[in-house]
């Protein structure tokens, strides 16, 4: 009997340990600043080398950051001012992470769960309004609670709007992401609160993409965009010409380099279709080379004076459109302020640095490059009510307008009216 009890006790201990180990899903590899973890209703300070359990909520303070290594060797960096819940990471099914606010940079291993099917997501990341299915990749996702933006550095993700918040079932999430957009390296997409679908993936500004890719640890220190911190120069595009016309396609360079036997076979950027972008109702394709204000999801299209870079199939905006800090943050031009919740302000000369008490936000800038080659500072506003008509010359039909324009009378309002009037008058 004693033996039986002992065996049962030892078995229970093993079971208990095994159970306890199964709940541990990630270990803290690196930590900066103040990071807390909420497990079973208890908040505790998170320390390096500490394990995080399934269901835990991780909160980072300002300028703080934590790097987690998951049990499948996937790496997840949680940025400053973020809140992330590990909803499910049980090793049996695709994991589900809930990003309530803030940013995540993640490198998910390709062999997680040993899922061979390339078209099946290995991990889902949900935000208040979007869901991303990850299929082995290096990406960044950010939300301010209203808008969610995603940038892909390597691999492949699928991304869509999420309306029903409580879904944790992988199959349901897979159905949702399958109906969304598929992103390729170098591209970004945004799910905006007031639109029914994510933006069509577009190539991010090359400089921003490169700086973001390097900034795995969410370095919040911004050094100026150019290497020496000089004042930005004027555009190389003279008034009257377009960026496409003035650009040099670097064919000469490629020929020179090819003579040394150096090819460009490893081109990593995907050339998104319609590099100029478009707006068709709720469907938005930002211009290739647009900047992304990561915190708010506001897209800033290259200005009309941007030069076309044939090598990357993107526009390279001039300093009039803003620049990129060394950590990948978008730095708006001097006359523009973008807040983390997505409000855009136009700053007039002499405006105080924080104009919000005095000024009302303007409509967000257009995600599509203007065609007029005038040197502009703020791209034309868009949004409901002032959305640009992107088919130039498309005249709304108005009999009144026609009548007033053509006859100054209402006789020509319609043939029926004409017929009736003529019949009555006796024509």
């Amino acid at each position: 009997m004693k033996i039986l009890v002992s065996i049962a006790f030892i078995g229970l201990c093993f079971f208990d340990n095994a159970f306890a180990d199964a709940k541990k899903v990630a270990v803290v590899k690196l930590l900066r600043g103040e990071v807390n973890v909420l497990t079973l209703g208890k908040t505790a300070k998170l320390n390096a080398d500490e394990w995080v359990e399934d269901g835990a909520v991780i909160k980072t303070a300002e300028k703080s950051f934590v790097k987690l290594i998951f049990i499948d060797k996937s790496q997840m960096n949680v940025g400053p001012n973020s809140e992330m819940k590990i909803e499910k990471f049980d090793g049996k099914d695709s994991g589900v992470i809930d990003l309530v606010k803030g940013k995540i940079r993640s490198q998910v291993t390709k062999d997680y769960l040993q899922i061979q099917d390339k078209d099946k997501s290995k991990l889902f990341i949900k935000t208040p309004n979007a869901v991303m299915g990850i299929r082995g990749t290096d990406f960044m996702i950010s939300t301010n609670g209203k808008n969610t933006s995603a940038v892909l550095f390597e691999g492949e993700v699928v991304f869509n709007r999420l309306d029903a918040k409580g879904i944790t079932n992988s199959r349901n999430l897979e159905d949702i992401v399958d109906r969304g957009v598929r992103m390729f390296p170098g591209e970004f997409s945004v799910v905006e609160a007031n639109r029914n679908q994510p933006t069509v993936p577009s190539l991010l500004n090359v400089r921003q993409r490169e700086n973001l890719e390097k900034n795995e640890g969410f370095d919040t220190e911004r050094s100026p965009g150019n290497s020496k911190g000089e004042a930005p120069a004027k555009s190389v595009v003279p008034e009257g010409l377009s960026g496409e016309v003035t650009s040099n396609d670097t064919a000469v360079l490629k020929t020179e380099v090819a003579q040394l036997g150096v090819g460009s076979s490893e081109q990593r950027l995907t050339s998104s279709s319609d590099p100029n972008g478009y707006i068709a109702g709720d469907k938005i394709k930002p211009t290739n080379g647009s900047f992304l204000h990561i915190e708010s999801g506001v897209i800033i299209a290259p200005g009309a004076d941007s030069i076309w870079d044939e090598n990357t199939k993107t526009y390279l905006p001039s300093a009039n459109n803003g620049t990129v800090a060394s950590n990948g943050d978008f730095i708006p031009p001097k006359n523009m302020l973008i807040t983390d919740n997505g409000d855009v302000f136009e700053l007039k000369p002499g405006s105080p640095k924080d104009p919000r008490p005095e000024l009302k936000p303007i409509l967000p800038p257009s995600p599509v490059k203007p065609t007029l080659p005038t040197v502009g500072f703020l791209p034309p506003a868009t949004g409901s009510g002032s959305q640009p008509d992107f088919s130039p010359g498309f005249r709304p039909y108005s009999p009144v307008e026609e009548a007033l324009k053509t006859t100054n009378q209402l006789e020509n309002v319609g043939t029926t009216t004409n017929a009736t009037i003529r019949a009555r008058i006796g024509n």
Partner: protein, 540 residues
């Protein structure tokens, strides 16, 4: 002497040593050296490309390789990459170094010129673009840069010479630049004449025509609106064109209007009544075709009077070739002269309208498959257009018309009073029309008095796809000499139209109309019909 010999020996020894260390690099090694930079550049990782190229330069220099071509390539490549990063001072330094190594591919001067241009070193930039022209690299754009820079530097003559040179290039080379160059020439002209006391004459004679020439190069280009704005602002500034009448009403721009239309449809019950004394109904349906045109040109005499000659034309043909049907084939020609005298009423723009119109209708009146004289008319109209309500304009008209028909009994005179109102709602537009008409025929038994009320609602565009409009007209006719037989007649006429524009000038209309005339004389005057048609319009 010994010392000199010793020094010479040291020098010779040193140079032999240097020659031994300046190792030649094989072609394979060269490729391997630049491979990573090539990958980074192709991936658009420009900062990493520069880091890579810098380490190549350092490696080449520290190991004593004197291959100027490799060092030149690294410097030139860095220059191009810095240009992509818009770090122009670094780009300039790199291009300088490449030239120092004697390395100068055909696009170097162009890229170098752009870096200098962006750094506002205009004189140096111009030299580089001139080199680029000599080397036939992007000649049109390089000429433009030289012209533009010269203009910026105040050297108008030189600017003009280089911009004008673009005209001489092959169109395949100059097509993307020519319009902008013509615009710049216009800017130079303007710059020259603007301070002159008689500027308006020169602006009218040289500057505006030059901008118009630029515009004509490609009227639908993205640059065209900018050029158009320049023309308009000059016309406003120098009073070259009348933009507003004295009461603030804008003038028509352009002053002409031309509409061509082709309509194909089906009429379920062909009737033709305008000059006949009965509503002859065929009780047969027929497909029909109607071709029409309308043109008008408005001439302004000072800022208060406008006169607009107008011409209307239409030709209708029925495809059912039964005599009852094809006798309705007709054409209609109607010139008119309309005038408006602008004034203010209740401190708002108003116009007195005075029109004369003439019409001539030919029709297959005898069913001989030949169009004969049907009727002609002279019409006069006196009206007032005013803004009493803020929501839209109102028009009151008094009309008088004399009709001479092929049937003497159908000769008539008509007098009518009408009221029209436009009501602009938030998105939709409401049109209201009411009229009272008295028609007096030569044969008095067919005289009528009638009252028409009509409402049309033009709805906002649906999903940028089409613009719907719906309308209903009610006409009550009193056949004053024939009341016993016909009674008071009521014509109910609902209609619907879906309109869609295609491109800048085309418009398609899908139309549906129903008419039901109720009369005591069921045999001759009561009828029902449905007409549906598609009309394609071209508007100039």
């Amino acid at each position: 002497m010994k010392l000199i010999v010793l020094l010479m020996a040291l020098c010779i020894g040193g140079s032999v040593y240097a020659q031994e260390t300046a190792v030649e690099i094989s072609d394979a090694s060269k490729g391997a050296l630049f491979k990573r930079a090539g990958e980074q550049f192709a991936a658009g990782s420009y900062n990493s490309t520069i880091t890579e190229l810098q380490s190549i330069e350092t490696e080449l220099l520290t190991k004593g390789h004197s291959d100027k071509a490799l060092l030149g390539l690294a410097a030139y490549w860095k220059g191009i990459t810095y240009n992509r990063l818009q770090e122009y001072p670094e780009a300039i330094a790199s291009f300088d170094r490449a030239l120092g190594y004697g390395y100068s591919p055909v696009d170097l001067n162009y890229e170098y010129g752009q870096a200098l241009f962006a750094s506002e070193r205009l004189g140096e930039a111009r030299l580089q673009f001139r080199e680029s022209i000599k080397r036939n690299f992007k000649r049109a754009v390089s000429l433009y840069y030289v012209g533009f820079i010269s203009k910026e530097m105040g050297e108008r003559k030189r600017a003009f010479t280089f911009l004008k040179a673009i005209r001489k290039l092959d169109p395949s080379e100059s097509q993307d630049v020519l319009q902008a160059a013509e615009m710049q020439i216009g800017d130079i002209y303007l710059d020259q004449v603007e301070k002159h006391p008689d500027a308006f004459r020169a602006v009218e004679t040289y500057v505006v025509p030059q901008y118009q020439k630029a515009l004509e190069t490609n009227p639908s280009s993205p640059l065209a609106p900018l050029i158009n704005d320049k023309i308009l602002s000059l016309q406003r500034k120098y009073d070259l064109i009348l933009f507003h009448l004295r009461n603030g009403r804008p003038t028509l721009n352009p002053p002409y209007f031309l509409r061509l239309a082709q309509e194909i449809g089906n009429d379920s019950n062909v009737t033709f009544a305008p000059t006949e004394t009965t509503v002859a109904k065929s009780k047969q349906s027929s497909l029909f075709s109607r071709t029409s045109a309308m043109g008008r040109y408005t001439i302004y005499y000072s800022d208060y009077l406008s006169i607009s000659p107008e011409l209307n034309f239409s030709y209708s043909r029925y495809f059912n070739r039964e005599p009852e049907i094809y006798r309705n084939d007709n054409y209609f020609l109607a010139p008119a002269l309309r005038s408006a005298y602008e004034h203010t009423l209740w401190s708002k723009p108003a116009s007195i309208l005075l029109d004369y119109d003439y019409s001539e209708v030919k029709r297959d009146v005898y069913a001989k498959e030949k169009l004969d004289f049907n009727s002609r008319s002279h019409g006069f109209m006196l009206g007032e257009r005013f803004n009493f309500w803020d929501k839209g304009e109102s028009v009151v008209r008094l009309r008088y018309r004399m009709v001479d028909s092929y049937l003497n009994s159908s000769d008539s005179t008509a007098i009518g009073l009408s009221f029209e109102q436009v009501w602009a709602l938030k998105v939709n537009t409401l049109l209201f029309y009411a009229s009272y008409d008295r028609v007096r025929m030569k044969e008095e038994i067919f005289d009528t008095d009638s009252l028409t009320v009509r409402g049309d609602l033009v709805l906002g565009r649906v999903k940028d796809w089409f613009t719907p409009s719906i309308g209903l007209a009610l006409t009550s006719t009193d056949p004053i000499n024939d009341r016993d037989a016909r009674g008071r007649e009521l014509l109910i006429n609902p209609n619907m139209r879906l309109a869609r524009t295609f491109g800048k000038n085309w418009r398609g209309n899908l139309k549906l109309e129903y008419q039901e005339n109720d009369s005591k004389d069921k045999a001759s005057f009561a009828y029902k019909k449905t007409v549906y048609s598609f009309e394609l319009e071209y508007l100039f």
